[in-house]
């Protein structure tokens, strides 16, 4: 009667320290340039070395330009950003950690390349100094975002100090209507349970709608688990999972594959497993979702109007909503379909995989980005996603429609590089956070699916993608 989380947890507990906390063995540690330099410095100062080199895999993603990639390091104009990327290079070389460097076609957003390479496998424990590590749970993997002190701890000990979290089951019933995607499911869920709705929990996503999703769609959902406060998000392994993993560069081959696959087929909750809390959401009832506020709970269906802040049950959310409307320059009762845009961003660890680009391209095909926009960006999640998209001609569809076709990285999701909103610019974005200033100082973000983003780019305002299919 164990949950999937219980099973992966039990298979990785080394033991308890004297203080009662558990040591959880970590199979895969993903590293990027922003949250690792202080951890490597800490190792050096303490005279420590990484416990197990081959458990680590690094790539630069947060802080790199998405133009002129061919120039490599020389293409990074900001000297402070450059120092950080060079430091990752130096640290990987001096500690002998494998890195997909800036010019490697396998480089990309850390949460895109892990699954893409088979560097993340079902049943693993995975950590990364990034909250969206929850993405990897889509493979039946226990994946936690951690802080820099924990990055150093994992490097030095191959363990994470943990207290077990509680189990939450989220069942998505029914099937999605046309124009509604995994992104809409997770936005609707966060709207329903709130940004702290899953604090202290690991969510397992189940139900017919989840089973019907591709791995990319499951990754989108698990990715945003953290936006509901969850410690991790998980999906049980099924044939979709195995078909995705098979043949990936780091995945086991031949006989070892058969052994691994047999073991992975057991990665599901027992039918009589008990959960600390359960939520059910009907996929059938969902329209395309759009955020209107400054956290991912403040979301409505495209058919709805912006709610009155006073309509929220709790005072804190009402106040947050009121502040959000002021920041976003929006009003209760307003329809988001009338809200004009300045920028459209298609990318991020939430929505920059091949399926996301296909969905956006299907809408963009044969159409033109509105002249009223300042820019519409498509930023593939990795060099290999980019290559795949180009082999399918998606780049030409985007370029012909007036989108900019960029090089892989986190880009305007967090706007650490040059891709950012100007003050008060409004953006329809396929990323995961609409916090104040997230995409640029005083910038305004509306979180949407890739298809809705593409339709909105064509319309020049937030659009109902169902009218474009």
């Amino acid at each position: 009667m164990a949950t999937l989380y219980d099973k992966i947890w039990d298979a990785h507990v080394v033991g308890q320290r004297g203080d009662g906390l558990s040591l959880l063995y970590i199979d895969r540690h993903l590293i990027h340039e922003v949250t690792s330099p202080q951890a490597f410095e800490g190792l050096r100062l303490a005279g420590r070395v990484p416990w197990r080199l081959d458990a680590n895999l690094a790539t630069p993603d947060h802080n790199i330009p998405t133009r002129n990639r061919g120039l490599g390091m020389a293409g990074i104009e900001d000297p402070i950003a450059k120092e950080q990327v060079v430091t990752l290079d130096d640290n990987c070389k001096s500690f002998d950690i494998q890195q997909f460097e800036l010019l490697d076609v396998r480089q990309g957003i850390v949460h895109v390349i892990g699954p893409e390479q088979g560097a993340v496998l079902p049943g693993m424990t995975v950590v990364c100094g990034d909250s969206h590590t929850s993405t990897h749970g889509a493979l039946g993997t226990l994946a936690h975002g951690i802080g820099t002190s924990e990055v150093e701890h994992v490097l030095a000990t191959q363990c994470l100090v943990q207290q077990k979290s509680r189990n939450m089951r989220v069942e998505i019933t029914g099937s999605l209507n046309q124009g509604v995607y995994a992104k809409d499911i997770i936005l609707a869920l966060i709207r329903a349970i709130g940004t702290a709705g899953a604090t202290g929990h690991t969510i397992e996503y189940a139900g017919d709608a989840v089973r019907a999703l591709s791995m990319e769609g499951r990754m989108t959902i698990c990715n945003m688990s953290i936006e509901a406060g969850a410690r991790a998000g998980l999906v049980a392994v099924d044939e979709t999972t195995l078909a995705y993993v098979e043949g990936k560069p780091f995945a086991p081959k031949e006989e070892l594959w058969n052994d691994a696959a047999a073991s992975w087929r057991e990665l599901k909750s027992d039918s009589d497993a008990t959960f600390d809390s359960e939520v059910v959401l009907d996929a059938e009832s969902l329209a395309p979702q759009v955020s209107w506020g400054t956290n991912p709970q403040l979301v409505v269906g495209i058919d709805e109007v912006i709610p009155d802040p006073a309509s929220f049950d709790d005072e804190a959310t009402s106040e947050t909503a009121e502040r959000a409307l002021k920041y976003m320059d929006l009003h209760p009762g307003e329809s988001l379909k009338d809200v004009s845009l300045d920028i459209v961003f298609i990318g991020s660890c939430t929505n920059a995989r091949i399926e996301d680009l296909r969905a956006a391209a299907a809408v963009a095909k044969g159409r033109r980005v509105s002249r009223s926009l300042n820019a519409a960006l498509v930023v593939p999640g990795s060099g290999l996603v980019k290559q795949q998209a180009e082999s399918e001609g998606l780049d030409q569809i985007f370029i012909n429609a007036g989108f900019e076709w960029r090089d892989p990285g986190c880009s305007m999701c967090l706007a650490m590089n040059d891709d950012r909103l100007m003050p008060r610019e409004r953006c329809a974005s396929t990323s995961n956070r609409n916090f104040e200033g997230r995409q640029g100082h005083l910038g305004r973000t509306h979180l949407v699916s890739p298809a809705t983003a593409a339709a909105s780019a064509i319309a020049g305002h937030i659009a109902d993608v169902r009218e474009y299919l």
């Binding site: 298979a11 080394v14 033991g15 320290r17 004297g18 203080d19 906390l21 040591l23 199979d27 922003v34 202080q38 303490a46 420590r48 416990w51 081959d54 947060h62 802080n63 900001d78 120092e83 950080q84 430091t87 494998q98 496998l121 049943g123 100094g129 990034d130 909250s131 975002g145 951690i146 802080g147 820099t148 924990e150 150093e152 701890h153 000990t157 191959q158 363990c159 100090v161 207290q163 940004t195 702290a196 604090t199 936006e227 406060g229 780091f250 995945a251 086991p252 070892l256 594959w257 956290n295 804190a316 947050t320 967090l414 650490m416 003050p423 956070r433 104040e436 200033g437 100082h441 005083l442």
Partner: protein
């Protein structure tokens, strides 16, 4: 000051009331400051977009900044505050430990709120910043006191798990014994774990035997 920055025993300081729920780590320390490869220098950009009208950049001197007049940390009454009072779900969002570093380096030793996001809560203990969880009613009461014309002082006693006001009114808080003891002693987490190095090695060998596919050399 403690010589061991990880240690927290008791702290007394002025309270800055930040009356907002769901404060995210993007607000605590905006992304442009995460480019630094150092562990220090984040304090002066704490809550940068809320504290200043102009957009902050690494290295921009404070003398060139235009403070937002009605932001709580720009109120001279709270200029020496070292206890931050906040609302629910404090520090949600990004895992950036820079948020904890920025709070500490600005001068905060303790944050009091009804609830915290998990990753931030963990990160705090790894740096000697004490997150104190009180009930909504207690936090409401403290906001009532802290927003009066005179700022209030609170003592936070980790040993006694108690927040004590001037008239000796005290608020008990819950914290798990493990984190409490580690912080009281200022123990190094990695050192504690490495005492179990033999157990980790033994586990690793068993784990590899049962799941050999997890141990294939990535580049092979």
């Amino acid at each position: 000051m403690n010589s061991n920055p990880l240690q927290f025993v008791r702290h007394t300081g002025l309270v800055a009331p930040l009356d907002k729920a769901n404060v995210d780590t993007d607000q605590i320390i905006p992304k442009q400051f995460l480019k630094s490869i150092r562990r220090t220098g984040f304090g002066e950009n704490l809550f940068d977009a809320w504290r200043f009208e102009d957009e902050g950049m690494i290295g921009k001197p404070l003398t060139e900044r235009q403070p937002v007049s009605d932001f709580v940390l720009n109120d001279p009454r709270y200029s020496n505050a070292s206890v931050l009072l906040a609302r629910e779900n404090f520090a949600c969002g990004s895992s950036r430990e820079h948020a904890v570093w920025a709070l500490l380096q600005y001068g905060f030793r303790c944050v009091i709120a009804p609830s915290f996001a998990d990753i931030f809560y963990n990160n705090s203990f790894n740096n000697g910043l004490l997150p104190v969880q009180l009930t909504h009613a207690q936090v409401d009461e403290l906001f009532g006191l802290a927003t009066q014309s005179q700022p209030i002082e609170l003592s936070v006693d980790l040993e006694k798990q108690s927040v004590i006001g001037r008239d000796d009114r005290s608020y008990r808080f819950e914290i798990d014994d493990v984190r409490k003891n580690r912080m009281l002693k200022g123990l190094d987490e990695i050192g504690l774990t490495l005492e179990h190095a033999n157990a980790i090695k033994a586990f690793e060998a068993r784990h590899q035997n049962a799941n050999p596919w997890l141990f294939r050399d990535a580049s092979a």
